[in-house]
């Protein structure tokens, strides 16, 4: 009898010990943490601006309100790499209305010379003379001949629009709007 009781007690003790053993905690392993101060991982910035703006919505040709054959107007755009990654850029442009197509555009790396309505662009010719259409077309370089612009570099573009001497009389009183889009891309981008 006593022997039977002892066996039962052993069984009870054994059953009681199983959950205790199964619940053996992870804290049985030692751990240690050490705080590290906040830090930032610097990333590059590719930032192209024109006249220090993006977009630039106030481009204007001085004295362009009364063009007639043989006259021209010019204005300067400043293209800047405002980021910290070297970039290369090109530009496309479009112009509305027949007047926009009749104008002849030239881009140089110089400054505006003369006074309205006979302004011109001095310096080395970068593009043109060329015509524009209502669809964006090549203006400065193209996607395969992008112009390099190092970090912080600035390039001055003088844009000249001239109305040829043989411009049609039907252009009188018409107006055109010119849109230029600069595409800046990371150097090495295919």
């Amino acid at each position: 009898m006593i022997s039977l009781l002892r066996r039962r007690w052993r069984l009870v003790l054994l059953l009681a010990a199983v959950p205790v053993l199964g619940a053996v905690p992870a804290w049985a392993y030692w751990t240690s943490t050490q705080p590290v101060p906040d830090s930032t991982m610097p990333l590059g910035t590719l930032d192209l601006t024109v006249n220090d703006a993006d977009p630039y919505t106030t481009f204007a040709f001085p004295g362009a309100g009364a063009m007639y054959p043989g006259t021209s107007t010019a204005a300067v755009l400043t293209v800047r790499n405002a980021g910290n990654v070297p970039l290369a850029y090109y530009a496309q442009a479009s112009a509305t209305d027949p007047l926009g197509a009749a104008l002849r555009y030239t881009v140089t790396g110089g400054a505006v010379t003369g006074t309205a309505p006979h302004q011109a662009c001095g310096g080395t010719v970068i593009a043109g003379p060329l015509n524009l259409t209502s669809s964006p077309g090549p203006f400065v370089a193209d996607d395969t001949t992008r112009r390099l612009l190092g970090v912080g570099a600035v390039e001055t573009l003088c844009v000249q629009a001239a109305l040829p001497p043989d411009a049609a009389a039907t252009l009188q009183g018409t107006t055109t709007s010119i849109t230029i889009r600069f595409y800046g891309k990371q150097v090495g981008q295919p």
Binding site: F59, A64, A66, L163, A167, A169, T179, Q189
Partner: protein, 193 residues
């Protein structure tokens, strides 16, 4: 371990899709749009209300002079302005009232017209009235823009020719010619109103 062929194909396809979709965004770019630039072409002031008169108001032996008007406005030169014109007959004493007019005619086309009694039916001289004077004028309208260097002169060639047009009553007759005759142009007789 043996990998089923179908699984291999699926893995290959997934890799291929991933490779194709390998993003261009791996490169950075930034676009800038420049707007606001407009250019406007000058408009040459258009001549308006250009009118030339051709008078036929002389009285000869109580006969009214018949009138035949022949007018031509030269065709526009290439790239130049185009005009249309109208021939009108008015009473001298009431030039603002058009008694008769020819439809607008393109420049370069000649208008020739013999005025007939019916043209002035509404303006018959009354009995005992000895004369009513009429004149013909040519009004030129601008159709297209003048050339950039337009001089503003419109050359009109017009002349009167005779024609006995008939008796219109009260002993008043249209008679033989005595009207102004201006072949070769009337630039000097034209004015802008």
């Amino acid at each position: 371990m043996r990998v089923p062929g179908r699984l291999l194909i699926m893995l290959f396809a997934a890799g291929l899709v991933g490779a194709i979709a390998m993003p261009a965004w791996a490169y950075w770019s930034d676009d800038v749009e420049v707007t606001g630039a407009t250019v406007t072409a000058y408009r040459v002031a258009a001549p308006s209300n250009v009118a030339c008169t051709l008078t036929n108001k002389e009285l000869l032996y109580d006969y009214w002079h018949g009138m035949r008007i022949t007018a031509t406005v030269p065709a526009a030169p290439a790239g130049g302005p185009a005009y249309s014109y109208s021939v009108q007959m008015v009473r001298v004493s009431a030039p603002g009232t058009v008694l008769w007019s020819h439809p607008l005619t393109p420049s370069g086309t000649t208008v020739t017209y013999n005025f007939v009694n019916a043209d002035i039916t509404s303006d018959q001289p009354v009995q005992d009235q000895t004369s009513v004077d009429y004149f013909v004028r040519i009004v030129v309208s601008l159709v297209s823009a003048p050339s950039w260097s337009a001089s503003g002169q419109v050359n009109i060639d017009a002349n009167n020719s005779p024609g006995i047009l008939g008796i219109i009553g009260a002993g008043v007759y249209y008679g033989s010619p005595r009207g102004a005759n201006s072949p070769g142009g009337m630039a000097g007789a034209c004015a802008r109103g």
